[in-house]
Symmetry: C2
Subunit: 256 residues, 2 copies
DNA sequence: TGTACATCAGTGAACGCGCGTTCACTGATGTAC
DNA sequence: TGTACATCAGTGAACGCGCGTTCACTGATGTAC
């Protein structure tokens, strides 16, 4: 069937009705790309809370109402930007992570953390959009943002899983082991029963350590990007970050 | 001279020119209090980015221009709120902390962390104002915000100092001790030479552990307040927070 | 290949909104003598 | 104690601004026959 169809159809390339290759479709794709680019520029310039449709239109040299052909309103523009930002962050982290020998668990964690910080410092407003205070009146649609938004944390948990598989995962990082295990079990009750997890040999403690490491990493980066310590408190942010990465390392893999 | 003047002045209490006890002064103090209260209500309702002078005036039943008698503009209102929020947070933490036996270092840290989280959950918009992304176009005047803004972190460092004085401070929490010490020294170079610190017997590692614990605590609270994990990831936020507090504990005091 | 009609992209004007801030004003409170 | 004047609190109108969104429109692109 498929074969016959292919044969009967004309070989010469011409615009097929309904297909996405007419002049309009090509233009549309082009404008959509321009829109994304302009939105990113605006976001980088004024930040998430001050982002406006009109400014984006101005940046594109268009009239504001024209944008409604491409986007249903300001909220959809924000969603677009969030997905783009998550993707950009995760791509950057993936690239750094994938350059490391998969057997080098410590190196993979360091690459993840370091590239995340670098991305955040290069894109502070994007970082604020993803990890800062929520934008007033806007609620991100989880169907679209969950998947790209969890790429990096899933990668972090995968490193923890690999450590568990090799028997080098960190144990309870404090106090009586039973208490830590109880807390970890309570905190991760939702995750621990997922197929991914059950098949991976991760304990609740390994999961909890991974999640805590993630929260710590986000906190470390945010404290630097948002300048939560004053200008004089931390003498060397890079050294302090490295210090915190090492703490995370000892959480993930136990004390070296 | 001063004596003569005091004697010649009438002893009876009556409104003295320039003193703050006429009808106007009393009213003024009352309105200033109302203004603060209305601003806090507005902040709690709409969040920092959407806060407006006009809404505050409406809340007070006044005309917007009237507020300019009390405040030079929107930015001063924000500064007011920031100072109030820092103070409210620090008061809450102090109260919880001071209820604990000073010799109980672990208990003091737990009280600090727990009360900070409780305050944040009760006042999420205030938390966002202090620890979320910066408000666009607004820059906090450090002369006014630094002091109240560092009360809690200074308290945390004081707990670390007390641990150091008693010889129970946590050591380098990872890897080769020399590397940790080098990183800590680089990160804390500005603080380590302050009189408070030099006289206290705190090492760079103790300082760095305290600062890292602070960043971790802020990160843990923010991740919960801003719902950075989706709604289903963490089954029991309280347990997860306790887990993270215990990690901080082992940073501050070494492994129990 | 040519023509009539349908679809789509972008324009331009307009809407109603809330914002921060200014300004001249009225009436009450305070001060000097 | 009484009067003339100065200070202050709050009003009301107005300014210019940028915002999101709607709507009727023109002209180009695509479709059917």
């Amino acid at each position: 069937m498929a074969y016959t169809r292919t044969v009967t159809e004309p070989a010469s390339p011409r615009p097929t009705p309904g297909r996405a290759d007419g002049i309009r479709a090509r233009n549309r794709a082009g404008i959509e790309a321009e829109l994304r680019a302009a939105a990113r520029r605006q976001l980088a310039e004024v930040g998430p809370a001050a982002l406006s449709l009109r400014a984006v239109a101005r940046d594109m040299g268009m009239v504001p109402s024209a944008l409604f052909r491409y986007v249903s309103g300001r909220d959809e523009l924000l969603t677009l930007l969030i997905v783009e930002a998550y993707t950009s962050l995760a791509d950057a982290v993936d690239e750094a992570h994938d350059a490391v020998d998969p057997a080098d668990l410590h190196g993979r964690w360091a690459a993840l953390a370091t590239s995340m910080r670098a991305w955040a410092l290069a894109n502070p407003h994007e970082w604020a959009l993803l990890f800062g205070s929520p934008v007033p009146t806007y609620q991100a649609p989880s169907e679209q943002t969950t998947d790209p938004g969890t790429r990096v944390s899933r990668l972090l948990l995968a490193i923890g899983r690999d450590a568990a598989l090799r028997g080098v995962a960190g144990s309870a990082p404090f106090g009586p082991a039973t208490r830590a295990a109880d807390l970890a079990a309570a905190a991760t009750a939702n995750l621990i029963s997922e197929p991914d997890v059950t098949s991976s040999g991760m304990s609740a403690v390994t999961l909890a350590n991974g999640l805590a490491t993630w929260a710590m990493l986000v906190g470390a980066v945010s404290s630097e990007v948002f300048e939560q310590f004053g200008p004089q408190t931390i003498a060397n942010h890079e050294a302090f970050f490295t210090y915190q990465v090492a703490i995370g390392e000892s959480l993930l893999f136990g004390r070296g």
